[in-house]
Symmetry: C2
Subunit: 675 residues, 2 copies
């Protein structure tokens, strides 16, 4: 008796003997090989493409001949004619095993393929979305053994996809009968099945649905709302977009919004309505721009701070404005998007909200913890998520601490005289010559510096319109390095600092970055004060965590935030936004909260992981910690009144100027190394 | 060492030894004695009242002394002063065990007390509602170990009520923080926890809520919608009410409504809106009449036929209009009332829909099966639920068969010339003297017959306004018995039948029951034909089940339906609505579907029971069974063209008249016993 042929799947190396004639997909499923299929092996979806390896495989002790798989059949020929199969590819559900064979499963055919993150190194995402498409053949009804169409669909899902007890919301149930009959008893269903809920029917299409399904990763910030539209079958980000949080009109920072709710009966309801409307607008635009049908967008993951969390859910945030800062609920939530009145997408779409860590440390901090995984680091890592409300995490394998700090919206360009959001025309980088005190800058939408040839032509369309968050950070830091601003944050006069770009405005000075007669872009004393307040809050929060951990310095710093990727580590350290560190130990993680949302959207196991992780994070409440005030006051200076910055001083020498008229030190400019 | 005192609870007989000082409630809980408590033993709710038995209990070998329980304490004294305790009663949570004692748990203190049904004998209901009230003390938030209020409520529910994983819909969650603080960290929660869902918070009140919670048992019929408002803590029916189903304007019977949906795009949506609006009106009126707050009504059970089921759910019923009559779903459903747009009650109220048995045999038939339990009977029992669509069940312990039959609305007084719904002024009973052919009758709202003294005065307020369902059944049967109508259903002329109350109207005759010059109430030939069609459909359905069972007669008949209790068994049999049987074997069960809904509302185990029962009921599809037509035609005669009615003929001799002019038999009136 001849043994059944041996099949070896690569790259997993899983192997087994199967009778001649076994389809490759069947063999893969028996062995638990990760080979995708939406149509369940009907030769329709082409997700199960494989590449047989022909030739000699000495390590496996195998020689594979050309006839190891069955010849092309009609289904493959038709598919190739209509869509084109790459050379060497076969459909795993059609090709059957004839002889010993090595089968390569290309990455695109793996269900749980790796999604490569463009913007960070912390972790890859294994695609395993909570919502999946499945083609299923349903028995026709039989009058003599009557059962409902949903019950027969469930029987088919159990038999064909090993899925039990799928329920259907009424609007989806209302579509089921029509779809089954139109599809001649074959339908594609979108099933949501995350780590905590029972499986749920989200949508149904007659026959084989080729349109794909999508999800949204939403970072709902105090000032800006950012969303990534992701393909749930490939993990790819199709489109990203942002919108201002319209709640700004009720208060720029969180506490002023809480106050608004306290002072104005029904104010919380107004703010809930505003944020839900903005989300609907953002979602609608994203879907329209991506040229998708709204029903193709079937899921969303939302991360936000506790106040936004409560306002989104329709819960009065008043308790978050006073000790003990009790959340209404801290657990992760799985909801229908319709419960949030988010209706611009599939009406049965689900929403997942990450857990909150504490009254001031929200689901956005949890998302940062998921994305940056400080608890998995060997080096003691400080993660600073810069925003109107900053999330700060400090930890390593042994322990993770977290707090939030109310930095205000200055870092996002708000409360800044020439501030604007990051958009074409905004100054995002700036350098000031320490000798001439002349600035050069770059604007969003153009790679040239303003002193390079062609800059004027290249920026003609957008103009030069203002300064965005990363621009203002660099501007203030550069002013400090060029001796235009002293350690206390005071701007010198033209005489004191020796440049006509310093001009009086009322009783203070401004630094003119740009002036074309029409538009004048300056950094004012008020701008410096706003940045000082913001950076002091950030630093004080980080310092509080370091106190709790009992350390004076950290080994690694990750700058995150909606514009985190654009912050220059050097300038952040000159400002004293972050503690002193070696520059090579400071990295940017981009929008870590948004990335955390995307991870939770694309991988349901990550949801269980972060729900468990947050229970082990130790919370530090900045709002009632007396040392926070002390740290805050000390952090007002640029970079700091008392903390030494030895690593910074190795690479930058800050001019030792003082423009305080009372102290009679104005105008003198001494260079010395900071001790 | 002296043994701990012995405590014996009556009527359960459960016993155990407990240390001196153990509260009676604690002892009851340890022994699993059914002793109610909403406040969890805080001396607030008074639900745990017990009566200690003093004296000698020879069968138990016990003598109980006056000091067997602790003396009255301050809590009991205060409660007695404020509310009054019945003599001999103690609060089980306050009185502690001192010596051997016998404790009687009065019925009112049992959670699972029996609810006595007024209208039927089939079964008692054990109170065990899915929604319960619980008083719970919640830990205050602690800033240093932050958790959400919901999470702390859950911890308290686990500790104090052994309830795990309670979830909260957003609107309830939004109320939680305020209630906890207003109630000083003590709240009463209404928790829904049926046999299939995880527990869910339905409402929350600060402190101890004394208002009670209520549920609705709704029988959604094709013609009328009936609802019982029940107290979920006592099982008592507080109020019942009914309303016409406004879908009548789209078609009087189910198939004409299905046709309406088929012929008019969006017609199903119109009908869904109509029935939901009517339900909201009915619920709103019931709650207002009972002087309750809408939020006190926290649950509903709904039973209906498959077409109403789909229209209520918002599903196009078109598939129910054609073979194979596939339901969109046949399983029982647990929903939020808001998903059905039923908003006149608590916004988080839950709805439970009983399962459907088949495309033509709905949740109403399941409710009848639950209420009348044919599958638990020794005698072969026929249950006929009379309505516009009749549900018919035949069975005994060995097997149950079910079908439905489209009787049309004639039995509910619709399509009858003088017909009206059962309301004061409607003729509900009628007798016709076989010699004088003169009628006498009774109207709803008055116990006197029309030939009794004082009838005119007693009915002056309501007037005599028409004939309701039971009235028309009696009228036609009496006309047959008095020789005014022949076996074919033809009304004789004044000359033929010998009474001036028969008067020509066009080419046919009418019988004048009442004429005061103003209002004239008659039975027309058209009325007789409508009743004949209706009763033939009913009889044919029953006969089809008897064929399937292989029997010619049944041992017991139960007449059910919204007005089932009012149908005279004798008259029903004279008409041939039901098969021949001994009169004493025919009983009325009232609105069995409504009772089934009430059982499912008050006892969650009954939900699991009926879900299991329906899987074992054998369905017979009348719509495609050729014999149904034969049975229907043969059943047109009064009582029947061919089936013998031996039991009926023992007690009634039907005049052998024929008014067919062509047959030249008119006017001759022969009395003979039917063979």
């Amino acid at each position: 008796m001849v043994a059944d042929p041996l099949v070896v799947f690569m790259p997993s190396g899983k192997r087994g003997h199967f009778p001649v004639g076994t389809p490759v997909l069947t063999a893969a499923r028996r062995l638990g090989v990760d080979l995708d299929s939406v149509c369940g092996g009907r030769g329709i979806c082409s997700k199960c493409q494989v590449s047989p390896g022909i030739g000699s495989f000495p390590k496996l002790g195998l020689t594979v001949t050309e006839d190891a798989l069955s010849p092309w059949n009609a289904v493959e020929a038709r598919y190739d004619e209509k869509r084109g199969l790459k050379p060497g590819r076969r459909l795993g559900c059609q090709a059957t095993i004839q002889k010993d064979v090595v089968i390569d499963v290309p990455e695109g055919s793996q269900v749980h393929r790796q999604v490569v993150r463009k913007d960070a190194t912390a972790r890859e995402i294994t695609l395993d979305a909570a919502t999946r498409l499945m083609l299923v053949s349903v028995d026709e009804p039989d009058m003599h053994t009557p059962t409902g169409d949903l019950e027969r669909l469930n029987r088919a899902l159990k038999a064909q996809w090993n899925l039990d007890g799928v329920t259907a919301p009424l609007p989806v149930l209302a579509k089921l009968q029509g779809a089954l009959r139109k599809g001649d008893w074959s339908v594609t269903v979108a099933i949501h099945h995350d780590h905590r809920d029972t499986p749920r029917l989200v949508d149904v299409w007659p026959g084989f649905y080729e349109g794909g399904i999508y999800g949204l990763a939403i970072d709902l910030g105090s000032t800006t709302i950012a969303a990534h539209l992701c393909n749930l079958q490939t993990g790819e980000v199709v489109l990203s977009s942002g919108i201002m949080n319209p709640q700004i009109r009720f208060g720029e920072d969180l506490m002023s919004r809480v106050s608004y709710a306290m002072m104005n009966p029904g104010g919380d309801v107004e703010m809930t309505r505003a944020v839900r409307e903005a989300l609907n607008v953002l979602i609608e635009e994203l879907i329209a721009d991506a040229k998708l049908e709204p029903r193709a967008v079937v899921e969303a993951v939302i991360v936000c701070n506790p106040v936004m969390h409560h306002l989104l859910l329709g819960i009065d945030p008043v308790e978050l404005g006073q000790a003990p800062f009790a959340l209404a609920t801290s657990s992760a939530l799985s909801l229908a998007m319709q419960e949030l009145e988010l209706t611009a997408l599939n009406p049965a779409a689900r929403a997942y909200l990450l857990p909150c860590i504490a009254g001031h440390v929200g689901a956005d901090a949890a998302a940062v913890a998921l994305s940056e995984a400080p608890g998995q680091q060997e080096a003691l890592t400080l993660v600073v998520d810069v925003g109107t409300n900053a999330e700060i995490l400090l930890g390593d394998r042994t322990k993770v601490l977290a707090c939030s700090s109310p930095t205000g919206p200055a870092f996002e360009g708000a409360q800044i005289s020439s501030g604007q959001r990051a958009a074409p025309g905004a100054i995002e980088a700036i350098r000031i010559d320490p000798d001439t005190k002349e600035p050069r800058f770059r604007v969003i939408g153009c790679d040239l510096w303003s002193d390079e040839d062609g800059f004027d032509a290249a920026t003609k369309a957008t103009g030069i319109t203002g300064i965005c968050g990363s621009g203002i950070i660099e501007a203030v830091a550069e002013m400090r390095m060029a001796g235009l601003v002293d350690a206390s944050g005071l701007i010198g006069s033209a005489e004191q600092a020796g440049t006509p770009r310093l001009q009086p405005e009322g009783r203070t000075q401004v630094y003119v970055i740009y002036d074309d007669g029409d538009r004048r872009i300056t950094v004012t004393q008020g701008d410096i004060r706003a940045i000082q307040l913001a950076k002091s809050a950030l630093y004080a929060g980080a310092r509080l965590l370091m106190d709790a951990r009992g350390v004076d310095r950290v080994e690694r710093i990750v700058l995150a935030g909606a514009f985190g990727a654009h912050i220059s580590p050097l300038h952040a350290m000159v400002l004293g936004m972050i503690p002193d560190a070696r520059l090579e130990d400071v990295s940017s993680a981009g929008n870590a909260a948004g990335t955390g949302a995307r991870i939770a959207l694309l991988n349901r196991a990550a949801r269980a992981e972060i729900e468990e992780t947050v229970t082990r994070i130790q919370k530090v409440e900045t709002a009632i910690e007396p040392r926070f005030q002390d740290h805050f006051v000390a952090a007002n200076a640029l970079p700091h009144a008392s903390d030494p910055f030895p690593e910074l001083s190795k690479i930058v020498t800050l001019p030792d100027v003082s423009f305080n008229q009372a102290g009679q030190e104005g105008g003198r400019q001494r260079r010395r190394k900071r001790s």
